[in-house]
Symmetry: none
Subunit: 150 residues, 2 copies
């Protein structure tokens, strides 16, 4: 599995699982197939399945319970509908990163006051992104039944 389109295998599996959750093929409240089943379904190893499920868990889409299974806790649509602009921002940032990688400088150093100012700007941007998270996390309508964490 060298390097197919779509990136690493575990990300492809995670993406496919996200689509299935979004299309209600795996409804909220139900359990996704077990690790062994997913391994057979996608023809990958345990590691890939674990990584994919771990990513979904980190994203807050699923929650696993030892001895029972991994249950869908939310749909990606609920997140997308609220973060469309943020997704657009992510695309722009990704483009910036691609351009920067393409602009590999040979060597040298020193000076670069403009770069320093740029870095400062990036730092400010970073703080604002985190602040945006804090801001949007509160008024989220669904998926927050007022239950205290665990």
């Amino acid at each position: 599995m060298a390097d197919p389109v779509g990136g690493p295998a575990y990300q492809q599996v995670a993406r496919d699982l996200r689509e299935r959750i979004a299309s209600a093929q795996f409804p909220v409240g139900s359990a996704i197939p077990s690790t062994a089943k997913l391994r057979e379904m996608y023809g990958v190893s345990i590691t890939v399945v674990r990584a994919a499920v771990a990513q979904l868990r980190a994203d807050g889409l699923v929650t696993g319970y030892p001895g029972k299974g991994v249950f869908v806790s939310a749909t990606p649509d609920a997140l997308v509908g609220r973060a469309v602009t943020v997704e657009d921002l992510a695309r722009q940032v990704e483009e910036l990163r691609a351009e920067l990688r393409r602009a590999k400088s040979p060597r040298r150093s020193e000076s670069a006051a403009e770069v320093a100012a740029l870095r400062e700007q990036v730092a400010l941007l970073q703080a604002q992104v985190l602040g945006l998270y804090a801001q949007l996390g509160i008024p989220y309508p669904g998926g927050q039944p007022g239950a205290a964490p665990k």
Copy 2:
């Protein structure tokens, strides 16, 4: 490192690394010890180290670059909520792109170190935005009435 008090080993390592980052023992912009070094430091396996670093990376604290290392991108203290509008964030991104073109102009001896640091910061932004897209409004996936098992 079987210590049930602090949870799994990889979470303990991640917590310790967070504290070191917060205490500037690992300053922003610097690289944390390599995987092999961390493995010796904590006396754990590669798996634990990689799981801990992966968690920090998912949180947007560090960013890894193959062949270079894992660099600190931000401190946990920077997670203080700061209100900001999406429009402001989009404008900042556009401004950043304009500055970036000026910085990567064919000026030959452009500072490679600064550009590299900038690239790390931009990569951090990408990770943060993607994480924001994923975790928006989902502080805790548990507590679903009827969905949570038993």
